[in-house]
Amino acid sequence: MKITLRVNGTDHVREVEPRLLLSDFLRHEIGLTGTHVGCEHGVCGACTILWDGEPARACLAFAVQAEGHEIRTVESLSPGPGRLDALQQAFQDSHALQCGYCTPGILMTLTAFLAENPHPDEAAVREALSGNLCRCTGYQHIVDAVLRVAAA
């Protein structure tokens, strides 16, 4: 069936099967490969996107369901070509990523979190992070990055 999905402010029209997962639509239909897939059962958080501004798992929705909603992915964060937003910059400054596979999902979770809680303490940051799994960093530098943004 033909659907129109609004992703990062742009409408994309595609012919898709109803069973196509939103994560696959983003990655393979419209080439937004920044959204990663780590488990396809909603636990790892690598595919976290913003659904009408709220963090959600792209692997637990069908693309057809996203019609009429605003979807935002990691590709929307950069303020311009070659640039980083404050959170992304803090990630680099704090060495908050290693392999970088979980990073896009974590950035989307934190983008929503910081919008609601601009000045969280460490406990709140860890709580917010607990729905995204990272296997490389032990989380410490990620927490540091968020606290860096919170302090700015």
Partner: protein, 776 residues
């Protein structure tokens, strides 16, 4: 200002942060086919018949491949690591097969490959395939597998023994006779999985016009894969390009080479003349990507009355899973690492590697070292208790003294050289750790106060060594480009270790450029032809040293070329900020321009001249560099629920000279997090039929940000004499001692010594801890 040794932020980050970095599943090609695999639902079963007709008939399906369809291509994989030259050893090579032909030996073993226009369709077709299985009894338990009547994993063997290795030096029996105390205990370590956030994946594309195969692979060893695939497919090596782009975590299992999917996908691309992609899904990952850790140790230690070790004897079983392509790396690491930081005058260690109907075991971060450390550190804890000696003190009394390095341990290590510690100084590490964690104050004041309040606080303190940076070699090519930027190519790939930054620091140090102007290319066999792989904490040591050597040569070429250009002595030149300046003058030439001069387009040159400012060098250490460290932890346990909370965690580490402290900290943090998972969260659970019971991330629990504490890191430095940088590897150190640390701290917190309860197994869980402590 020099960049080497500074906590510089990473070159690779901006692209990763913007979602622009290429991972294997990001590769899209016109006409791409998608593979899905039918896998054995049984741990052990004979394949009687297979019917693929319905699958082949499904619209969108291009091919269905079974073992029979592979013809001559059906071959067991290569033995990646031959057995060590230990006299009297026994080894049975049984390597994984691409598709099950006669019988399946573990759940998830591939049986048929479907190629279809989408992954969705391919999975539909997998469900169409009918297989007639004759289910066989499975072996999982290591001791049961060795029983006389145990079902055989490999029918052509007379038992499930995969290998036996005995290494001994000194006279343990005499040591035991002379000892004041001999302790004998059984220790067990169970299975876990590495769970990189990116699963495995492979894309293969045969370009008929160029007569070349390109393979994007989530491998830690692209050059080895290139060479192996070329040989298997009847191509020359120049016809195959393997790219390991950004890899979403490796941790060892992506070092395991020639997985069935890895040899089948390129074959299919060649056969069908269309590009093929296979991305392992998380469910497959639990069955099809290798595991680690299952061992049973019967160990004993002999000590004198002062707690000095006289000898250690260890007999252990090692689970190698259904096949053993990785040889004996893991149990050898256990055998060697057990000796730890200590003088052990008599050592007698024998292991039996056992085939089981389970997923293959190959190295996973720590790679057997966990077990050795667990056994030795637990033995020392129990000995300290029995002798009334403080835990820190018994370790101190047995440390290899600082003036005894290099220290020959007298056993053969995983790199087949004699295990010799290159350098080290253990007491300062211990002292720093004791001070940082507040050991004396904790025992004298904090713990008693907490106990009086009804709180169960405990401290743990564990020492370890890690053999790192083993050979055989890596290489690097450094080149000054016309743009003035410097490129560095090496054959190993990166799975998040920050090679594009650390190696840039090594090169920048020599060539006087900003690290942002060093472009590091790793993991592309078209960019560098030779290499082994990223494993065993060896990238910085071996490839880093090669980069250093190559950069030194390029530096010399730069100065020589510039001296000729300026008609001055090399000693008068200053190489800095991307340019060469004649000291004390304004005569200056940028590196890019100098590279142009070094590549003349016309005219005669001196015979023997090589164009460009470029050099390739290789580095192969004679043996590995031995890192060391101490982890200390204070934890609190809810006495009722037995859930632990880590209150403080200190790592004091010596990995020789540090290239980038920020990256080093990240490696340690991540290692500790994996260690915590391995100690208290992660355990693969199997039923008696060999079925895995927790094959999802909802059931196999990897630690979250709430389960990993803030860690405090300190360092000491004993440079390695075995490489020009003085570095030692650091990739696995964080993960290695955590199990032993948990066991000790939990015993301490719950006052288990007073109750004669010992923790002798890993991993734990609240439920298991309750069974141990309450006898439930």
């Amino acid at each position: 200002m020099t960049s080497f040794g500074r906590p510089l932020t990473r070159n690779e980050d901006p692209r990763l942060l913007r979602g622009e970095a290429l991972f294997v599943d990001d590769v899209e090609l016109p006409g791409l086919l998608h593979a899905a695999f039918l896998r054995s639902p049984h741990a052990h079963a004979r394949l009687l018949a297979i019917d693929t007709a319905a699958a082949r008939a499904r619209p969108g399906v291009v091919a269905v491949v079974t073992a029979a369809d592979l013809g001559e291509y059906w071959q067991p994989g290569p033995l990646l690591v031959p057995p060590p030259p230990v006299p009297g050893m026994e080894f049975h090579q049984r390597c994984q097969v691409p598709l099950v032909r006669d019988k399946a030996r573990h759940v998830g073993e591939p049986v048929a490959m479907v190629l279809a226009e989408s992954r969705y369709l391919a999975e539909d077709a997998v469900a169409d395939i009918l297989v007639d299985w004759e289910s066989l009894p499975a072996v999982g338990d290591l001791e049961a597998a060795l029983a006389a009547d145990a079902p055989l994993v490999h029918d052509d063997l007379t038992s499930n023994v995969a290998a036996r290795v005995h290494q001994a030096r000194g006279d343990y029996a005499a040591a035991a006779r002379a000892a004041h105390l001999v302790l004998k205990r059984r220790f067990t370590y169970d299975r876990g999985a590495s769970i990189p956030m990116e699963t495995r994946g492979i894309v293969a594309d045969w370009d008929r016009r160029a007569d070349r195969l390109t393979v994007w692979d989530t491998t830690q060893a692209p050059v080895v894969i290139r060479n192996g695939l070329a040989a298997m497919l009847g191509l020359s090596e120049r016809q195959v390009r393997v790219v390991a782009p950004n890899i979403g975590g490796g941790f060892g299992p992506k070092m395991m080479m020639f997985y069935p999917e890895e040899v089948l996908v390129p074959w299919a691309a060649l056969r069908l003349g269309r590009p093929v992609k296979w991305i392992e899904d998380r469910l497959e990952h639990f069955f099809a990507t290798t595991h680690e850790r299952s061992q049973i140790h019967d160990a004993e230690i002999a000590l004198d009355a002062q707690g000095k070790i006289l000898g250690v004897r260890d007999v252990f079983l090692h689970d190698t899973g259904a096949y053993d392509p990785y040889g004996l790396t893991v149990p050898l690491n256990s055998q060697c690492t057990l000796l730890g930081c200590y003088v052990v005058p008599a050592y007698d260690s024998a292991f039996t590697a056992v085939f089981t109907n389970r997923t293959l075991v190959t190295p996973y971060r720590g790679a057997g070292r966990q077990h050795g450390v667990f056994v030795m550190e637990r033995l020392l804890d129990l000995a300290a208790r029995a002798l009334g000696i403080d835990r820190a003190e018994i370790r101190r009394r047995n440390f290899i003294p600082a003036d005894a390095f290099p220290f020959d341990q007298g056993v053969i290590y995983q790199d087949f050289s004699r295990l010799s510690y290159d350098s080290g100084d253990y007491e300062p590490i211990l002292d720093k750790a004791l001070a940082a964690i507040g050991y004396d104050d904790f025992l004298a004041r904090v713990q008693p106060t907490a106990r009086a309040e009804g709180r169960a606080l405990g401290i743990g303190l564990v020492c370890y060594v890690e053999g790192t940076g083993i050979g055989p070699y890596e290489g690097a090519r450094v080149q000054v480009q016309g743009s003035g930027k410097v490129s560095l190519a090496t054959g190993i790939g990166s799975q998040g270790q920050g090679h594009a930054t650390a190696f840039a620091q090594v090169v920048a140090e020599q060539i006087g450029v900003d690290i942002r102007d060093v472009e590091v290319v790793t993991g592309d066999t078209d960019q560098f032809q030779w290499g082994v792989g990223t494993f065993a904490s060896r990238g910085a040591v071996v490839a880093g040293s090669a980069a250093h050597e190559a950069a030194k040569v390029v530096r010399a070429k730069i100065l020589r070329t510039a001296a000729a250009h300026f008609e001055c002595a090399e000693a008068d030149l200053v190489l800095a900020d991307g340019a060469v300046t004649v000291a004390g003058t304004d005569r200056r030439i940028a590196l890019g321009a100098l590279a142009g001069l070094a590549n003349p387009m016309r005219g005669a040159v001196t015979p023997g001249t090589e164009p460009g400012l470029e050099a390739t060098r290789y580095f192969g250490p004679a043996s590995g560099a031995t890192a060391s460290g101490v982890h200390a932890m204070i934890l609190e346990i809810d006495r009722a629920t037995l859930r632990p909370t880590i209150l403080d965690y200190v790592v004091v580490h010596d990995c020789g000279t540090v290239i980038n402290p920020l990256i080093l900290a990240g490696q340690i943090h991540g290692g500790v997090a994996q260690g915590i998972g391995n100690a208290f969260f992660e355990k693969l659970a199997w039923d008696s039929e060999g079925q895995l019971l927790n094959a999802s991330l909802a059931d196999y629990l990897i630690p979250t940000a709430l389960d990993v504490p803030r860690m405090r890191l300190e360092h000491t430095v004993t440079p390695s004499p075995l490489n020009p940088l003085g570095v030692k590897g650091a990739g696995e150190a964080g993960a290695i001692p955590v199990g032993a640390l948990f066991a000790q701290a939990i015993e301490d917190a719950l006052g288990l010594p007073a109750r004669d309860i010992e923790i002798r197994e890993m991993p734990l869980s609240p439920s298991r801890l309750w069974e141990i402590t309450e006898g439930g």
